[in-house]
Every structure is written in C-alpha cells, then in structure tokens.
Amino acid sequence: MAYQILLNIVIALIWAFLQNSYTGVDFLVGYVIGILILFVLRRFLKFDFYFRRVWAFIKLTLLFFKELIKANIDVIKIILSPKLNIKPGIVAVPTKLETDWELTLLAALVSLTPGTLSMDFSDDNKFIYIHAIHVPDKEEMIKQIQDTFERAILEVTK
C-alpha cells in the first residue's frame, strides 16, 4: 500500500520533469496518470490495487458523518422527551477484527453513533463491550450497525 503510493508519487514527479514545468496542476495530472498506470499493472504488484482501499476509506468517512448526524438527532430526542423512558444496558458484541488499529477505529466509530458507547475490550479481543442508552428495541439495530461498520472497516484494511 505505502509502496504503491510512493511509486505513484515518483510517476507524478517524472511526469513533471518530462513536462519541464513544476506546478501543482502538473503534479496532479501526473498523479492521475500514475493511478491509471498502476491500475494497468495491478497484476504484477504483490498487493491489491491501492485506490480501491482509498475509495473504501472515503465511503467509510461518508457513512460516519451520516451516522454522526443521526446519532445527535437521536440523543436530542431522548433528552427533550418529557419522560425519560430509557432502558440502558451493557451489551457484549463479538467482533471479527484483529489488529489494534482496526479495533480502535471501531471503538471510536461506535462511540459516535446512535445510542452506543464503547466501554471495554475483552482480553482476547473477541468481544467489545458497548453501553447502549436504549436497549430493548435497539438490540437488532445495534447488531446491524456493528455489521455495517465492521464490513466497512474490513473493506479498508483487507
């Protein structure tokens, strides 16, 4: 991944040298051409074509912002309701993620999504403990959110 990005930057620099003009626009054009070249040569690289991961990361960011706004509307609904009929609970959610980096990202995303807050990891990193603000009607939805986030994160780091 990092190797491919370095290769892409080198291709962009060579493009700027060939044009004999050194502006940001030339560099950008060279970078796009480098992406195309890497796409053509993707069979010879050891890893996946890296731009797909970049695209997955952009999708994850958009999903995150959507969930953040939904979460805030949720919390404000709960706070401004005249009767606080909430049933908080702590749920253990099994995860398939392995590296520390993925788990940290998942915990941060869970903390900023509707009605959930990450609390603890089990020692073997098989479970993440989540405090949910309103459990009974949300159990399934929480699972679903976890699945979407996990799948998005796995797409990025696969």
């Binding site: 805030n72 709960i78 609390m119 603890d120």
Partner: protein, 116 residues
C-alpha cells in the same frame, strides 16, 4: 447580496446550530440518571457542536478574507480524534471502580479483569 452578507449568513447558521447542539447536550448532562448515559450526551452532541462552530468560523474567514485557516481544520480533526477516546476512558474508569449504574440496566457484565 454581496459576498460578506452571504458569508455572515452561512457562518451564523452554522454557529447557531453548533451552539444549539452544545446547549442540548448540557441539558442531557443535567437530566440523565447516571455516569454512563451522561457521557453519551457529552460525547456525541458536544463533538458535533464544536465541529459546527469551527466550520462556521472557517467558512466565514474563507469567504470574506479568502484566508484558509488550516488551524481550524486541524482543531476539528483533533476534537474528532480525542472525544470518543475520552468518553471510552471515562466510562471504563467508572465501571472498573464500581460507580453506581442505573438500576434497570440490562448487563452483560464485562469481566472485572483489571481490578486490583
């Protein structure tokens, strides 16, 4: 409608939305029953509130002065990076030291692994 009026309107709307979010989250900190639910309100809404206010300031300076303040963008980024971690740590510290939890909380208890 010249540029300065437009920028003032946009920035004003963003900053108002942000302050409203922060106000509601402080209501939540007063109303909700225990540490864990309170940290829900504190973590989520203040994050979005700070994001909106900083974004409003950023857009204002960008449209009126043509000045792109990287520091404001970095501020947004750092708030996003640190707020969920702070919520996580406060919750976990409260749980490990057995701070009282609301009575009808359905618990799948995390193992008290690190209790000394």
């Amino acid at each position: 409608m010249n540029a300065s009026v437009i920028s003032e309107v946009i920035a004003g709307v963003f900053i108002l939305i942000g302050t409203l979010f922060i106000l509601f989250s402080s209501f939540g900190i007063i109303r909700l029953p225990d540490v864990y639910t309170r940290s829900h309100a504190a973590t989520k809404s203040t994050t979005l509130g700070v994001l909106c206010t900083l974004l409003g300031a950023f857009l204002y300076f960008w449209i009126t002065d043509g000045y792109i303040s990287i520091r404001l963008l970095l501020g947004i980024f750092f708030v996003f990076l640190t707020a969920p971690v702070a919520g996580h740590l406060i919750c976990r510290a409260a749980y490990v030291t057995n701070v009282e939890i609301v009575r009808d909380t359905a618990k799948q208890r995390p193992k008290a692994e690190r209790e000394h």
